[in-house]
Amino acid sequence: MNSDTDSNDAETTDEGYTLEFIAAHAGVDPVAILRYQEKGFIRAVERGGGEQVVFDSEALRQVRRIEHLRVTFEVNEAGLGLILGLLREVEALREEQRRARR
């Protein structure tokens, strides 16, 4: 089995991500991130000590998903709201169903 040289480092970082980090890692402008947050497409987890907005990996994943929908399918903002809302609802229902079975 091949493995990279750094393969022994456990590499999951689940620290909070800053706005800039999310923007850089999703390849979008920070202003867009704020707009998504304002629209309720993504949620910040907490405000760090100062006024810093902090996001989690779920938010990063969501921004990437938004970009995917926007770029690949040319979905506009109203469409994004609809799709993300539906996805969220489906996911919540699935989780509920899963819990009920356990």
Binding site: D6, T12, D14, V28, A32, H68, V71
Partner: protein, 326 residues
């Protein structure tokens, strides 16, 4: 790649027409036997426990079960036919472009039932980077999958070796990456763990995609979870519900004594604060809930029968009275 067909019905020792309830019961019975916390032969038990967990994961989900039944319709032969493109949780890049190891699921499960998805841009559809990047530079796609996490790992955190074999879409060659991921203490079911740059390689100097692993708590014979809360269903006798009782219940970190208050209703939730899973790095913990499940005796001997008759003749309890009087 040939993958051995798994007989999940045999793993749980149930018939193909078993009801949801049968499945639950069979799973619990076996899980109590083989849970690594309780079994004597740890190594064998762990493999067996994973197998029944996986069987439960598939058969207790009506959709997965249906799909499984279709796969098994020809007695486990010619798997390929049933594997229609895009069957992997909505994978957009066609089925089976990547393959996980070390997630706690078998190859068979990974292939047909995991939530694994490649999520990103197809060739030539790269995002218009707002940062002004131009040309062919394109960030690699993210890859998503599930990872089975025991409650013990969720409680204390863990490091797990994971491998990801995928086709490099540029060279068309199969590549395997092996690495470790850290499962943080308090990893709740459904939470996604991001493993940076373990997704598909970027193009033209752009960054690699990330790997997102969704935490799936392994079913446990004694506990289920709701977020950071841990739930234990406690079977009790009718008189314990009526008279109250003191009982010892297991938690994830040792047994605790618990008082069942008199006149407790069936299904009552009794909370032990702060005995659940950790909540992030705050040092706080979720709660532990004991849910009362009043059990009735299946059969009674002559002496007990007299006692129940005595109770019937003298009790003023009228379970149906409320329905007739306003």
């Amino acid at each position: 790649m040939s993958i051995a067909f798994k007989d999940y019905y045999a793993a749980l020792g149930i018939a193909r027409d078993a009801t949801t309830d049968d499945i639950k019961k069979a799973f619990r019975k076996l899980a109590r036997l083989y849970h690594p916390d309780v079994a004597k032969d740890k190594a064998t038990a762990e493999a067996k426990f994973k197998e029944i967990n996986e069987a439960n994961e598939v058969l207790s989900d009506p959709e997965k079960r249906k799909k499984y039944d279709l796969l098994g319709a020809d007695g486990g032969q010619s798997r390929e036919a049933a594997d229609g493109g895009g069957s992997r949780g909505g994978a957009e890049g066609g089925a089976q472009e990547f393959h996980f190891g070390g997630t706690g699921f078998s190859d068979f499960f990974e292939r047909y039932f995991s939530g694994g998805t490649r999520y990103g841009f197809d060739e030539g559809q790269g995002p218009a980077f707002a940062g002004g990047r131009t040309g062919a530079a394109q960030r690699g796609s993210d890859i998503e999958g599930d990872i089975l996490v025991s409650l013990d790992e969720a409680m204390h955190g863990a490091e797990r070796p994971v491998s990801l074999r995928s086709v490099n879409r540029r060279t068309g060659e199969m590549e395997t990456q092996a690495f470790k991921i850290r499962i943080p203490p308090g990893a709740t079911d459904g939470r996604r763990i991001r493993v940076p740059e373990r997704g598909e390689p970027g193009v033209g100097g752009a960054a690699d995609g990330d790997l997102f692993l969704r935490v799936r708590h392994a079913a446990h014979p004694e506990f289920t979870t709701r977020g950071a809360d841990v739930v234990h269903e406690l079977d009790i006798a009718p008189w314990e519900a009526v008279l109250g009782a003191e009982v010892t219940v297991p938690t994830l970190d040792g047994a605790i004594k618990l008082r069942i208050p008199p006149n407790s209703a069936n299904g009552l939730n009794i909370r032990a604060r702060g005995r659940g899973l950790p909540r992030g790095k705050t040092g706080e913990r979720g709660d532990f809930f004991v849910v009362l499940a009043v059990q009735l005796p299946r059969e009674v001997d002559a002496a007990e029968r007299l006692l129940w008759e005595n109770l019937r003749d003298h009790s003023v309890f009228k379970p149906r009275a409320a329905r007739t009087s306003p």
